[in-house]
């Protein structure tokens, strides 16, 4: 600084200092009481005590977590086109915990990059590796899975490179660059460390992308263990009971053989044996279909493509007609249960009118639709999915009442447990269902069936349970399928085994239901047999070149190679340990620079994500080296890799405590403040703009950790991002809405509206530094976003309670917002505003009431002293202006 002709500025005033350090270390403003206490505490150690108190608070862990989540591209959705939900907050809790316990940065590094590979890895250490799985993933679609998988691996390389090495290594993905120290081959050497995950390019219907880890809380964990024990026990009981039932089974088989062929009171309106293609049942569509051994003779087997059996204009049932559908099906899903049509008669061109009998996530359902948007349809689904790879008889009947109460569902001739009503389940159908479309087996409305279908029957009446059971029996009597009769006898007929089977199904259902509530996170794991990593020519995943072994770039490895580099295959653990080897030339410097930036607003290296040959050189190289050395090795007063100790060291400096006031001359000579001759005035990040307002309004919910929340935002945000009508953003219950911005759901395709305007990272890729803007849209958020209006109302209430006359109250409100006391001129203009607003609302009390309600049905409970509405409304407008000030959303 002095070399460049600057003298350090005086220390900032104490109110500004406590606000600065509180915002920097916790992302929250100090309370007026805390400001007053600090201003009056003139002991020399007051500053150090304040810093210690802030660093030890859980709010500091939250603040540091925000910084880390941007780097880690954390989001609550999967990204890409579908952008489905991702319940990954278990990892966010891990990050908060790690900062709360001040986990040393070397362990913080190793656990996130390779926690799964540590000897005796704990659940927490495996959870930590979710860091490497925070990238966007594609769920389904018409993609080329290999391309997506390549993107995931490349993202891990880019993120790791940017965070620990401060390098843009991705440049070498496609080819060598003349002046770049990292070659394409070396890039794929790094890539190989992250390429050995047992993962899929398209993750399909898994709750989260495999491999994943479920994170039950203690209660859920105990319940899961209990279910598992019961399921194991029931399996054993069933095995024993089956042995004991052999004789009874022989008797029953003889009886079955004597049974009459058809027991339904009426014959089917249509019957498809599905033994071969016939004029009445033609294979259509494009895709894979085959004739395979079925329940009786052959069955049609479909592969979830667009092939289906076209049955022509038959099965013509309207909304007022009773009917029954019966079929044998064998699910053959490769991964999670899929959704597919068994029999459907749907007119896609007319809002999907018609009826569909199928499996939804493997569970039998019947649906009648009159219109898709707005939706008019009725729907009923069984509770349990059909077991995979086994023949089961399924049937559904409808009594023509246009009510869901008129539906019945059967599996293997027995009525089944039903799924409780959900959003699709309307009680009544208003309109007609279509009569024009052809009947199709295996596909309608774009939901192709995966598995085999046999013996499809349609009846123009409601069959009684006994009649349905009789169909099952008669098919079993004639069956050519091996093991089917035995299976049916055990599961349905013999009382001792059937009751155990039912109990098993109930237990499985209970466990499944519980698991739906248990958060799961995608984590890292290694393939048992290493997947060979190929260099990709031009970065094209369809053009694999030579095989590349894991390894680090030569320019960095000169001083040391990863542990075990001499072994056949160094892994991620070796890479992680190499990064935190004290001799590593970059990791300490890059980390110190990033934390320096967190505290001072700008790094000693201006390009925090580029320490390479194209980045800016450091402004204070000796200082950076010194701090990095101390951070990595530790010192007498400080442990090695101690993040909070480093932060404390930075904020204890005189440089940190300078005033941020800028003289015009200094601003001209050093606009970027490279020589640190003043403190930087820094705009608050998006999350903290909201946190700050909530805290000032006295509304902040300080609960730490837990699931993401959805605060209120304007209707229609993200509609473009949704495939069909309605994005379905439903705000959280009021009691959860005012948690910190850290917990606000981050949906990649439809970012939270006000965060976008304050330049929050979209969390698509690792974000090391975000540009900060200053736009009219931000002004609109501060005036009109509901959270800011609620904060204004909260501040108005606090103010009226806290102080007596206008002057005192204006002082109080002002100090709540910016910590310092107002000047006379500031009070003057605020008082004018207050008086004009007071006059306005006294003349128009209805407007005051409307403002205070903020669109709610009724007023909330009033504060301790109940002022008249015009007074509160006038203060709310003043508070709204104070909360909209540049100084309020700036750390000075």
């Amino acid at each position: 600084m002095r070399e460049h002709g600057f003298e350090p500025l005086p220390v900032a005033d104490r109110a500004t200092l406590i606000r600065r350090v509180s915002l920097d270390l916790t992302g929250l403003p100090p309370s007026p009481a805390a400001v007053e206490a600090f201003v009056n505490d003139t002991r020399p150690e007051a500053w150090g005590r304040l810093v210690d108190r802030l660093l030890a608070s859980p709010q500091c862990a939250e603040r540091l977590a925000v910084h880390w989540l941007d780097l880690a591209r954390y989001a609550d959705s999967n990204g890409y086109l579908e952008d489905s939900q991702r319940p990954g907050w278990g990892w966010r809790d891990w990050v908060i915990d790690a900062f709360d316990r001040n986990k040393p940065f070397d362990a913080f590094t190793v656990e996130q990059l390779a926690g799964d590979l540590l000897p005796t890895a704990t659940i927490a250490q495996r959870t930590a590796t979710a860091f490497l799985r925070q990238h966007a993933v594609a769920v389904e679609g018409v993609g080329q899975p290999g391309e997506y998988r390549h993107r995931y691996v490349a993202d891990r390389v880019a993120t790791t490179g940017a965070i620990w090495l401060g390098l843009t290594v991705g440049c070498a993905e496609c080819h060598d660059h003349k002046h770049d120290p990292i070659s394409q081959r070396e890039y794929y050497g790094l890539y190989a460390f992250f390429d050995n995950v047992p993962e899929r390019g398209l993750v399909g219907d898994a709750p989260v992308a495999p491999p994943f880890l479920r994170l039950p809380n203690a209660e859920q964990g105990a319940a899961l263990l209990d279910h598992q024990a019961a399921i194991d026990r029931l399996h054993e009981e069933l095995d024993r009971a089956v042995v004991a039932s052999r004789e009874a089974e022989q008797d029953w088989r003889r009886e079955l053989a004597r049974a009459t062929n058809s027991s339904a009171s009426v014959g089917p309106a249509a019957y498809f044996a599905l033994d071969r293609e016939t004029p009445q049942a033609r294979l259509r569509g494009v895709g894979i279909a085959d004739w395979v051994a079925g329940v009786r003779g052959k069955a049609v087997q479909l592969a979830g493509t667009d092939a289906f059996v076209d049955c022509g204009e038959i099965g013509d049932f309207g909304a007022r007609d009773a009917f029954t559908v019966s079929a044998w099906v064998r699910r053959e899903d490769k991964g999670a249960p899929t959704t597919g049509t068994i029999v459907g008669k749907v007119d896609e061109a007319r809002q999907n009118r018609g009826y569909t009998f199928g499996l939804d996530d493997g569970r039998p359902f019947l649906e009648l639709v009159s219109a898709r948007a707005p939706r008019d349809g009725i729907y009923l689904m069984a509770r349990d999915p059909l077991p995979n790879h086994r023949w089961h008889h399924v049937a559904a009947s409808y009594d023509g009442s246009k009510r869901v109460a008129g539906f019945r569902l059967y599996v293997d001739g027995v009525p089944v447990a039903l799924e409780p009503p959900n959003a699709r389940a309307r009680a009544e159908l208003a309109g007609e269902i279509d009569r024009v479309a052809p009947l199709r087996i295996g596909c309608s409305d774009g939901d192709p069936f995966t598995g085999a279908i046999d013996e499809v029957r349609l009846y123009g009446t409601v069959l009684a349970p006994a009649e349905i059971a009789a169909i099952v029996r008669s098919d079993l009597a004639m069956t050519t399928a091996e093991g089917l009769v035995h299976e049916h006898f055990v599961r349905q007929v013999y009382p001792a085994t059937a009751s155990i089977a039912r109990e098993l199904a109930d237990r499985r259902a209970a466990r499944r239901e519980l698991l739906e509530d248990v958060p799961a996170v995608s984590v890292m794991a290694e393939n048992e047999e290493r997947r060979p990593t190929h260099l990709l020519l031009r970065g094209d995943f369809t053009a694999p070149g030579e095989v590349v072994a894991p390894g680090v770039p030569a320019v960095l490895s000169a001083f040391a190679s990863p542990d075990g580099a001499r072994n056949a295959a160094p892994n991620r653990l070796a890479l992680a340990r190499w990064l935190v080897d004290p001799r590593h030339p970059l990791v300490g410097r890059v980390t110190v620079n990033r934390l320096w930036r967190l505290v001072f607003g700008r790094g000693l290296v201006r390009t925090p994500a580029d320490f390479g040959t194209r980045g800016d050189p450091p402004t204070h190289p000796a200082l950076l080296d010194f701090l990095a050395r101390e951070f990595v090795d530790g010192s007498a007063s400080q442990k090695a890799w101690d993040v909070k100790a480093l932060i404390k060291r930075l904020v204890m400096t005189a440089t940190y405590r300078q005033t941020s006031r800028m003289s015009a001359a200094a601003l001209r000579r050093d606009p970027d403040n490279r020589w640190l001759a003043r403190a930087n005035a820094l705009p608050l990040a998006a999350e903290f703009v909201r946190d700050n307002a909530l805290a000032i309004g006295g509304l902040l919910d300080r609960r730490v950790r837990g699931p993401s929340i959805r605060p209120w935002q304007p209707a229609g945000v993200g509609v473009a991002a949704s495939a069909r009508e309605g994005f379905g953003y439903r705000p959280s219950p009021v009691a959860d809405r005012n948690r910190r911005g850290l917990y606000v759901e981050r949906r990649r395709s439809a970012p939270f509206a006000s965060f976008v305007m304050f330049d929050a990272s979209a969390r698509e890729v690792c974000t090391v530094s975000q540009t900060r803007t200053n736009t009219p849209l931000q002004a609109l958020v501060l005036w009109n976003d509901r959270v800011h209006l609620e904060a204004a109302r909260g501040l108005a209430r606090r103010t009226l309670v806290a102080a007596g006359d206008d002057l005192e109250r204006l002082h109080f409100a002002f100090r709540c917002c910016v910590a310092r006391s107002p000047e006379a001129a500031e009070i003057r203009t605020l008082r004018q505003l207050l008086q004009s607003q007071r006059a306005h609302y006294r003349a128009d009390p209805k407007a005051a009431a409307a403002l205070l309600l903020l669109g709610e049905e009724r007023a909330e409970d009033g504060p301790d002293i109940a002022p008249d509405a015009p007074e509160l409304a006038a203060w709310m407008v003043v508070a709204n202006s104070l909360l909209s000030l540049h100084e309020t959303i700036t750390r000075t």
Partner: protein, 436 residues
């Protein structure tokens, strides 16, 4: 150091862009690229010489690749003789205003990366969008409206989602991100004051904030403080100017009828008319998205319905811009993220067939500012399988668009993480034949 540019590199032919993006990718075969031979082959396998080793998506993998001819008539229009489908009668009437490129190519076969490539020049997330680059380079010419406006509509057919990153600014300043303008009473998020705060109260608040900011600016010397002051003044003005700009009730019945627009609805027609109103008011980049072109099945029926609405409004926009003297310096671009296969996908014959994604050849059209009206660029083979003349990759389209705006795509760079980034990455050539 990244310096915000304050103007073009050379005299521009176009001062603003209206991009009529057809999301989901409309079929070129039914609209722009007539293939009688494909029609002859309908239902029969394509020649193996074409299809051997070709990359298709999962939906067509391991299947017979059967030709699908388009069951629509084509005829020539205007003096230039553009050949257009009977589904585009209105565009036909203004055929002499447009240039058609029938040889567009993209390497991306999935919606998400293809949309990204078309809108940001790169298949993966993380790059600024076209509109953001243009805003960065040229700034705004109306401070009361956003420089980069986004309008989204959807057809009645199923539509794929659109990610907000398509109009994001990525590493460019957030000032340059597209602002989604919505139909209804709150066209910009948070624009409307709450019930109980009247306009004159906002004025009083603004006056107070102005004084407080002036004091803070003087005391702190923080230049951002005066920027904030200006931004708040502008916000106050936007509260009036944006609703005014989007208010279609101010249009004459004849104009509404020309577009097929109905005030109060959300539709492509309304958005085209709003685009003209925004263009008049100096908005630099107006990005429309019309969703619902992903016709894997039942293509004729759905494409016919989509085309009817889009044809009328697109042509109306050209007519309206021209009669108001705006067409000569407004670049209008129409097209999707890729094309559709010459192969049949739906497979049911008749009107139930559909087409999968296709990147080897597809069509877009351009009009207005500096575009050589009447030009037909590029040619595909008899099956529309591949380009045989003048391929135009996505980066070439971008380079050309920038060129018309007076920008050299190789000089429009931004230093980020130690690297100079470009919209056109390391590729792109201006398509000279497209320029008047």
């Amino acid at each position: 150091m990244n310096v915000e540019r304050s103007g073009p590199h050379f005299p521009p032919r176009a001062r603003r862009v209206i991009y009529l993006f057809q999301a989901g990718a409309p079929s070129q075969f039914e609209l722009f690229d007539d293939k009688p031979v494909l029609r002859e082959f309908d239902g029969r396998p394509l020649p193996a010489s074409l299809t051997r080793g070709v990359t298709v998506n999962d939906q067509l993998r391991d299947r017979k690749l059967l030709a699908a001819g388009a069951p629509f008539g084509f005829r020539r229009h205007g003096d230039c003789g553009h050949e257009l489908s009977e589904l585009l009668p209105n565009l036909g009437a203004v055929a002499d205003r447009i240039a058609i490129v029938r040889s567009m190519q993209t390497e991306q076969l999935n919606h998400d990366p293809a949309l990204n490539l078309m809108q940001t020049g790169h298949p993966a997330a993380g790059r600024p969008s076209l509109g953001a680059w243009v805003g960065h380079a040229l700034g705004s010419s109306n401070r009361k409206l956003p420089a980069f406006a986004v309008l989204v509509s959807r057809g009645r057919w199923f539509s794929n989602p659109l990610n907000a990153r398509l109009w994001g600014s990525a590493f460019l300043s957030g000032r340059h991100q597209g602002i989604e303008l919505r139909s209804g009473s709150d066209p910009v998020l948070f624009l409307r004051d709450p019930e109980g705060i009247a306009r004159e109260q906002r004025a009083a608040q603004l006056a107070t904030q102005r004084e407080l900011h002036a004091l803070h600016c003087a005391r702190s010397g923080d230049p951002e403080c005066s920027t904030r002051m200006a931004a708040q003044e502008l916000a106050y003005e936007m509260q009036a100017s944006v609703p005014e700009a989007l208010d279609l009730t101010r249009e004459s019945p004849a104009t509404l009828a020309l577009y097929g627009a109905k005030p109060g609805q959300s539709s492509f027609a309304n958005n085209c008319l709003m685009a003209r109103r925004l263009a008049e008011r100096g908005v630099r980049f107006i990005q429309l998205y019309h969703k619902g072109w992903d016709h894997h099945y039942q293509l004729p029926k759905t494409l016919t319905a989509m085309s009817r609405e889009v044809d009328r409004a697109s042509a109306a926009l050209l007519v309206d811009l021209e009669r108001r003297g705006l067409l000569h310096d407004t670049l209008v671009v129409w097209g999707g993220e890729f094309g559709r296969t010459p192969m049949n996908q739906g497979g049911q014959g008749g009107d139930r067939y559909g087409r999968d994604h296709w990147g080897k050849a597809f069509s877009v059209w351009l009009a207005g500012g500096g575009v050589r009206a009447g030009a037909a660029i590029g040619r595909t083979d008899d099956f529309g399988f591949d380009v045989v003349e003048r391929p135009v990759p996505v980066h070439d389209l971008h380079a050309t668009m920038l060129h018309l705006l007076g920008l050299d795509h190789e000089r429009l760079t931004f230093r980020h993480q130690g690297r100079d980034f470009r919209l056109t990455d390391v590729a792109g050539e201006v398509v000279a034949e497209l320029i008047a």
